[in-house]
């Protein structure tokens, strides 16, 4: 359905996206995972025809959209990272405004507004001014506006940033429903790996403008099949212990988060005795040492040496 071929975008001397290759099939949910500044937003701006690439091509049904973006624009519903609404208007007025922009009129527009308000759970708040909404409600309306014209492809750029867990779950469930019930194709960018894991059939992982991994969840996790993740917890981690771990040649990655150190080691190595010895030498009292099932976060850690939210 949609293909990105060697797509690059350069701002002055800096590549925001470099040689990105992707494909999206009809009816699937594709995740674009990466930390802030990875190039996800630039990539989706290019694939939605909002930004011209420096080099490369975007092909929709095997035709380039660079010279004629109309076909793809007709089927896209865009959910920007920002709240792209008129916050001085009510929820209903916003939907009516964007509905009219999409040439919806009269009874059809009214029915669509009712339907969207129901879907995003804002029917009771339809007359309220958007700027008085909570972050979660604004995000829901932000999605609702993108659904007004029944898009085949919905592009969501970090739609759950800065909202409460309840609203976040609501949004994730709504996206899942849209995909399952209306066969809507979804491109979902996030730096929350659990969201991508929950929603997406296939995942592209980006970092610093480069695509560093892609495939289904299982395929990506298999990158770590030869390694295991071990989580060491202690109340007071000290520098001697961390430095010792970093200098151990069998440990491929060390990531420190407050009272927790995550290390990645080859599967065949029994690292426990070494960890306990290093802790003793560093006069550190450990709370626990656990082997963890690899997650996408671990894959990212393995590939970049950094956590997703760094």
């Amino acid at each position: 359905m949609l293909e990105l071929i060697d797509l690059s975008k350069k701002f002055k001397q800096l590549y925001a996206v470099k040689n990105l290759n992707m494909f999206i099939e009809k009816g699937e949910i594709v995740g674009l995972l990466g930390p802030n500044g990875a190039g996800k937003s630039t990539a989706i701006s290019m694939l939605s025809s909002l930004v011209d690439p420096t080099t490369g091509d975007v092909r929709f049904h095997n035709k380039s959209i660079l010279k004629n973006p109309s076909p793809i624009r007709k089927i896209i519903g865009m959910v920007p990272q920002e709240i792209a609404l008129y916050t001085d208007l009510s929820a209903e007025e916003n939907l009516r405004f964007f509905g009219r922009i999409y040439r919806l009129k009269g009874a059809e527009l009214k029915q669509k507004i009712d339907e969207i308000l129901e879907l995003i759970g804002l029917t009771d708040r339809r007359k309220d001014i958007v700027k008085k909404f909570s972050g979660g409600m604004k995000r829901r309306l932000n999605i609702g506006v993108a659904l007004l014209h029944n898009p085949e492809l919905i592009i969501m750029d970090e739609p759950t940033v800065g909202i409460d867990p309840q609203s976040r779950n609501y949004i994730l469930e709504t996206v899942k429903r849209l995909n399952e019930e209306k066969q809507m194709t979804v491109i979902y960018t996030s730096h929350y790996m659990e969201e991508v894991e929950f929603l997406c059939d296939r995942i592209y992982i980006m970092d610093q403008g480069n695509l560093i991994a892609s495939g289904t969840k299982d395929e990506i996790k298999r990158i770590l099949s030869a390694e295991k993740t071990i989580v060491i917890k202690a109340d007071r981690l000290n520098d001697i212990f961390i430095e010792s771990l970093r200098q151990d040649p069998t440990i491929s990655s060390v990531t420190v988060e407050e009272k927790k150190v995550t290390i990645i080691v080859p599967k065949e190595i029994n690292i426990f005795p070494a960890v306990l010895k290093l802790a003793e030498e560093a006069k550190l009292e450990l709370n626990s040492v656990d082997i963890k099932t690899p997650t996408l976060e671990d894959v990212f850690l393995h590939l970049t040496g950094r956590a997703l939210r760094d």
Partner: protein, 370 residues
């Protein structure tokens, strides 16, 4: 396009406070500084000779629009001058007068001129009465009536006027402050409306519209029309208030004064588009707009007449700011009574500025974004 325009109008109606604040400030400053209809200077006046009462001198001084000749005792006149409560006072005698000056100002000459004019008129009347052998009050009254009739229906009339480039200029403080503050404050209203384009681009509303069947030119035109409409509405309200509430006549050319504002408002919308194209953030915009508005108002003669500016650099700079031409067209219409053909030059400059700045501004905005 209509949808975008309607949404903006709805927001405008819902939140009119900024707009109203600008209208009130324009009116307030024009009234306070220009004096509105109360721009009359008090001149303490002592009538030294009772013979002045009932003469044409008293009539003329009482009818003065610029000065209020307030009669009081000699001591009171001197006190007021000494205490700085009045800058100038007058003592009137039967055939002569004395001007007491507290503070040297252009008003001294004007007061002197007014009183001299009144005495000249008195002398003229006395010569007419003598020539007509009018000795009794009724005879004098009959001569006066005949004279007034003749003046009302002259055999021929002379119309005096000032032309562009002539050294002779008329500076009317009421008009100047009204025009100056109107043209100054409307910059804020327009600029903050145009700036919504940048905000909408930053928050993704424009991206949504770009992906929709709406055309980009429709978005620019709708925003342009809205900004122009609110700016024009503001100046229209201010002028209507001054015309029908304060009673400013606009030289009998009120309709024309409204029409000549169109190119000015157009050029300010264009200037705002240019600034919006140059700045990158809301903070930059908020910092730049007051600097540009105030400096343009100073350079363009909105706060003081350009005629009193002697710096050649300032006068050269004034040629590139729209306010200069805005003031020129309004003064031309309201004070000098110029026809459209006589103010075609400043109108053309404003339109040219508008077209050029709109073009560059949109180009810069497009270059930065989509």
């Amino acid at each position: 396009m209509i949808g975008i325009l309607l949404a903006k109008i709805k927001i405008f109606i819902r939140y009119p406070l900024t707009f109203l604040a600008m209208v009130v400030m324009s009116i307030g400053f024009a009234l306070l500084i220009g004096g509105g209809n109360g721009n009359v200077i008090n001149v303490p006046t002592y009538i030294a000779d009772e013979a002045i009462h009932g003469t044409v001198v008293e009539d003329i001084l009482n009818d003065s629009e610029a000065f209020n000749f307030e009669t009081m005792s000699k001591d009171e006149v001197e006190d007021k001058i000494a205490n700085g409560k009045a800058e100038i006072g007058v003592e009137l005698y039967e055939g002569d007068f004395r001007v007491i000056v507290g503070v040297e100002s252009p008003n001294v000459g004007l007061v002197k001129q007014t009183v001299e004019g009144a005495y000249s008129k008195k002398l003229q009347y006395e010569q007419l009465f003598a020539a007509a052998n009018a000795t009794t009050d009724s005879d004098k009254e009959a001569v006066k009536t005949d004279l007034e009739k003749a003046i009302a229906d002259p055999v021929f009339s002379i119309q005096a006027n000032n032309f562009r480039g002539s050294d002779a200029v008329i500076i009317d403080n009421r008009y100047h402050t009204l025009f100056g503050f109107t043209l100054f404050f409307v910059i804020y209203t327009i600029a903050y409306n145009v700036f919504h384009i940048l905000e909408e681009k930053n928050n993704g509303v424009w991206d949504r519209i770009i992906l929709s069947p709406a055309r980009k030119w429709e978005m620019y035109v709708a925003n342009f029309m809205y900004s122009f409409g609110t700016g024009f509405l503001q100046v229209l309200i201010i002028f209507l208030v001054f015309r029908f509430w304060v009673g400013i006549e606009f030289g009998g050319n009120f309709g024309k004064a409204i029409l000549v504002l169109i190119p000015y408002v157009f050029s300010i919308v264009a200037l705002s588009i240019l600034i919006t194209g140059i700045v990158k953030t809301v903070q930059q915009f908020n910092a730049v707009i007051p600097i540009i508005a105030v400096s343009m108002a100073m350079i363009g003669g909105a706060f003081w007449p350009l005629e009193i500016v002697s710096s050649k650099l300032m006068l050269v700079l004034s040629k590139v700011v729209p306010i200069t031409y805005g003031m020129e067209v309004l003064n031309g219409v309201a004070i000098y009574g110029y026809s459209f053909s006589e103010i075609l030059y400043p109108i053309s400059i404003l339109l040219l500025m508008g077209v050029v700045m709109t073009g560059i501004g949109i180009h810069l905005m497009e270059k930065r974004h989509v």
